[in-house]
Amino acid sequence: MYDFAYHKPATVADAVKLLAADGDAKALAGGQTLIPTLKQRLAKPSAVVDLSAIKDLAGIAVAGGKVTIGAMTRHGDVAASADVKKALPALAALADGIGDPQVRNRGTIGGSIANNDPAADYPAACLALGATIKTNSREIPADAFFLGMFETALKPGEIILSVSFPIPEKAAYAKFGQPASRYALVGVMVAKTASGARVAVTGAAAAVFRWSEAEAALSKSWNAASLDGVKVSPDGLNSDIHAAADYRAHLVGVMAKRAVTAAG
């Protein structure tokens, strides 16, 4: 780890100020990605702005047909929340499948989304459920948020405050874990909403994406058999020692069907 200054502001305003004042400062949430990166000397921030003392950033609210989760809410809290389990069980289950208990007790939804790891789980939920990401300066629809590998619409110094998920009619997430890391080798979130089906795929490509062919098929008829013959092209999908692109493409189909079946 290189030396850095450490700040622990108590308000969003102070955090924004600290980040705005120093272009090389970084926000710290659960630290599950940032701390290993620092330890391996892969990042050299001048300052770390720890968001954990900002009270309003953590918490879960279900109201107005939406589940709203504060950026600093830990995965474990989402997984265990009776409200989330009731209103949007697919999201609680997704959170429960992230990493291991230690990771779930530290990692946050804001950190996960801001980081936009191509194999992270939450981005699939955001995209499939049509979530809105609220920051200190604006509201960003999920469809405009995840831009590419580790790349989001966030501007330098912009802080995520919360994520709002419209409650769908049905939804489910099916994840095929990468054998070693157990991040998503392929994860598919499906949602049946009043305006049609939404299908988001994570792990398979450089960034989470919506699978429009599957959405069209499921919008016509919501059942797994609708996806027979609907295929994702392996072109441009990730390929590594665990899965070549064609295997990933195949798994997208399998996981999508399993998600639809699980959603009922």
Partner: protein, 790 residues
């Protein structure tokens, strides 16, 4: 008084310390005024060192010194030695290239240390390391072991890539037998390279005392005396009398902590140079690229059968990867610990094996749990299943037909070993019963209804523990003895400390050895302490590997106890005014036969140290005995492992749904520890079969260089194991013990793969190389052609 002796499932004495965080590991040891070493390692697999400019790094804040290969060479520091010399077919010695502590002129694998920065803090050392100006000129690398032997392959060492070309057995006899074969089963297989990944990364602290001239090395080693011997004699030229090596609590070794490593030699050498203790602890990423790795064979084998399915002859051709340099044991593993096991549990009358060992631009290979025997068992048990398929025979039947009969022991194999005892029928029956083998087809049918492919696989194996005797091992190239030493020190009040040359790094010696002593002396476990790991406390020792600690180390304890009891009887005879021959020792009491006159063990101990009424003219005071034990033979644990898997054909995921192991480990001293050892071994064996694989790309970059990409088995990957024993006693050691540390990792991989192949039998699969990952299975099920299945 109830004594927790042999056979008692007592909880491990050491666990209180470990479970309450009171263990004392090398990284817990900090010496006053210590400095920190940071190793700068090669990022490319093969390169010429053009230039290293250390000036800027030396001037950086907190830096105490920067060292490179030439600094050590200038001190006439020797290379890291190899502990076993294998000879070529023509009798000439293997190629044994120099292995400098810090690279000289060339780097030969990713992770090869080039320079070391020593600084006040680790952070400062890392900062300064970034200021080193190192110019390397990349050379083409050779990674695959088959490629290494191709003409024109980049040469890892000046002498080329062949380390040795060795053979064993009778080629003519085998050739003749193949002529008469009714059928020949053939296989080409890979035994995948593994990374041991003990929970505790390696660490070393070197210290030098100017007043006494004594060096101390604290290190994460399985064999501190061996390190002292190798490092003192071959590398640093320090007499043992001034070199102390301490391996305190060690958090797992699995063979990867046998090797005498560069970091150990460096910190010991550097301590007097900088005049301060020098500490180093590996980060996990360093472990991946600098801990000795395991396995890595490519083999072609053929088995000749007669029309009744009897094995006539086995012919094996193996290439084994040594990595870039020879580790301490590497040459012995694919030869004397592999090819000598190729008879397995069968009466195959003729065997011929050729083994070539090669250098590649990869991390050195050394022993890994099983070391050679898992490779042998995998090959044999795979080819036996293939033979059964060729013959249209049942897989149980073909095994039983070829088992060494239970009344045929001692049994001389055609590949040098003589098995002393075993009952392969009993262990097979035990495992079949445990897993309800007879009910399998019903379970297969039930699984099919749920869209799953279920398979069952058997492995019946034998292995060899406690490599010995020293004189024969020496004739075969071992450069050290293979005995063990025990010192039993009875204290005046009758409590006992055992000093053993073995080293516990998870095996539970502090309990098992204490049980041997409790049994023999009739005293409670709380009266017994077991001390290991410090060369200044223990006369000598060869350490712990090859499942030798009970069969060899435990026998040394028994021999020392014999001496204690002999002497105690003499003291008792004096006190009881009886002839020594009339003294009986039982349940902690010395009694004059046929009388009620007796003395307790404690009374004798006190008399030995307070010799007021004592035969001083004929007997020395004290009760402290040392024994060295050199075994007459290996011990031969064996058994049967049966695995049941279910495959999801849509994803290729293999789930181990049931696993039964019935092992013959000889006499069981502590059933709980034995069960635990089998569990751990099975986890690693199943890991090798389904998950673990060290992957390099064609430039020698480690692609599985962290736990993000190297798949370790986890609890939820494994079923609840059905573990049992069906023992026969070892005939040549007094306890009748054989060994249990490695059986799980040896027997299980072929059981798993045999089950996977069985599950996929409708797909025409004959063999799948390990690890049977979801991607591989999916490719087979979906008719993919780019994958490894035949």
């Amino acid at each position: 008084m109830a004594i927790d002796g042999i056979g008692a499932a007592v909880r491990r004495k050491e666990d209180y310390r470990f479970l309450t965080g009171q263990g004392n590991y090398t990284d817990d040891i900090s010496r006053p005024n210590q400095v920190h070493a940071y190793f700068v390692r090669a990022q490319t697999a093969h390169a010429k060192i053009v230039r290293i400019d250390t000036a800027k790094a030396k001037a950086a804040e907190g830096v105490v010194a920067v060292f490179t290969g030439p600094d050590m060479a200038a001190d006439a520091i020797g290379g890291l030695p190899c502990g076993w010399l294998v000879k070529n077919k023509d009798g000439s010695p293997m190629q044994e290239p120099a292995h400098p502590v810090l690279a000289l002129e060339r780097v030969r694998h990713v992770g090869d240390p080039i320079a070391v920065v020593v600084a006040e803090t680790l952070s400062q050392a890392k900062d300064a390391a970034e200021l080193l100006d190192i110019e390397l000129a990349d050379l083409p690398a050779v990674v695959g072991l088959v490629d290494a032997l191709k003409p024109g392959a980049p040469a890892v060492h000046a002498g080329g890539n062949l380390c040795f070309d060795w053979h064993i057995g009778d080629a003519d006899q085998v050739a003749a037998a193949f002529k008469n074969a009714y059928k020949v089963a053939k296989i080409d297989l890979v035994n995948n390279r593994l990374i041991a990944n003990p929970m505790e990364p390696r660490a070393a602290v070197g210290e030098y005392d100017r007043a006494t001239g004594e060096y101390t090395l604290f290190t994460t080693s399985q064999n501190p005396h061996v390190i002292r011997l190798l490092m003192g004699a071959f590398v640093l030229h320090i007499p043992e009398s001034r070199l102390r090596v301490v391996a305190p609590d060690v958090g797992g070794g699995f063979g990867s902590k046998i090797y005498h490593y560069a970091e150990e030699a460096f910190v010991t050498w550097a301590a007097p140079k900088v005049g301060r203790p020098v500490k180093w602890t590996a980060e996990r990423g360093e472990s991946f690229m600098s801990d000795a790795q395991g396995r890595d064979h490519v083999t072609h084998a053929e088995l000749a059968l007669d029309k009744n399915g009897k094995f006539l002859a086995l012919k094996v051709n193996t290439i084994a990867n040594m990595g870039a340099y020879l580790s301490t044991f590497a040459p012995a593993i694919p030869t004397y610990l592999y090819a000598t096991l190729l008879a397995g549990v069968y009466t195959t009358p003729a065997i011929y094996a050729e083994v070539k060992a090669v250098f590649t631009n990869t991390v050195p290979v050394d022993a890994y749990r099983g070391a050679g025997r898992p490779e042998a068992a995998f090959l044999i048990e795979r080819i036996v299943d293939i033979a059964a398929a060729e013959m249209g025979m049942d897989r149980v039947e073909i095994r039983k037909r070829n088992f060494i009969p239970t009344n045929a022991f001692p049994y001389q194999t055609p590949v040098a070993l003589q098995y002393d005892s075993g009952d392969y029928f009993a262990t097979l029956e035990g495992a079949m019963k445990a897993i309800d083998y007879a009910g399998f087809e019903a379970r297969r049918a039930a699984a099919k209804k749920h869209g799953k492919l279920r398979g069952i696989g058997i492995s019946t194996y034998v292995e060899a523990c406690g490599i010995a005797p020293s004189n024969i091992a020496g004739a075969l190239g071992a450069r050290a003895g293979l005995y063990e030493c025990a010192n039993v020190r009875v204290h005046p009040t009758g409590s006992v400390t055992l000093f053993t040359g073995c080293h516990s790094h998870g095996q539970g010696h502090e309990t098992t050895y204490a049980q041997l002593i409790a049994e023999r002396l009739g005293i409670g476990l709380d009266q017994i302490e077991v001390s290991h790991g410090d060369t200044n406390k223990i006369p000598f020792g060869m350490g712990t590997y090859g499942s030798r600690s009970l069969a060899v180390g435990g026998t040394a304890v028994v021999k020392a106890l014999d001496k204690i009891v002999d002497k105690a009887k003499k003291i008792a005879a004096h006190l009881l005014e009886a002839a020594e021959a009339d003294i009986e020792f039982k349940d902690g009491k010395f009694t004059v036969a046929g009388t009620d006159k007796s003395k307790s063990f404690g009374e004798i101990a006190l008399t030995a140290y307070v010799p007021h009424n004592y035969p001083l003219e004929t007997l020395e005071p004290g009760l402290d005995e040392t024994a060295f034990y050199d075994p007459k033979n290996f011990t031969f644990p064996g058994g049967a492992h049966i695995c049941e898997v279910e495959i999801d054909p849509q994803t290729g995921v293999v789930k181990v749904v049931d696993f039964a192991a019935c092992d013959d480990v000889g006499r069981v001293v502590n059933p709980m520890i034995v069960e635990g050892q089998v569990h751990g071994g099975l986890a690693q064996g199943i890991g090798q079969a389904l998950m673990e694989e060290c992957v390099y790309d064609d430039k020698g970059q480690l692609r599985s260089g962290s736990f993000m990409d190297y798949t370790m088995p986890r609890a939820d990957d494994l079923p609840s194991f059905k573990v049992s024993t069906a023992i026969t006693l070892c005939t040549h050691n007094p306890l009748g013990v054989k060994g249990v540390g490695e059986v799980g990792a040896i027997g299980s991989p072929p059981a798993v793969i045999n089950a996977v192949v069985d599950a996929l039998k409708d797909y025409g699969v004959r063999h799948i190389d390990m690890p049977a990952t979801p991607q591989k299975i999916w490719a087979i099920v979906n008719g993919g052609h780019r994958m490894a299945a035949e």
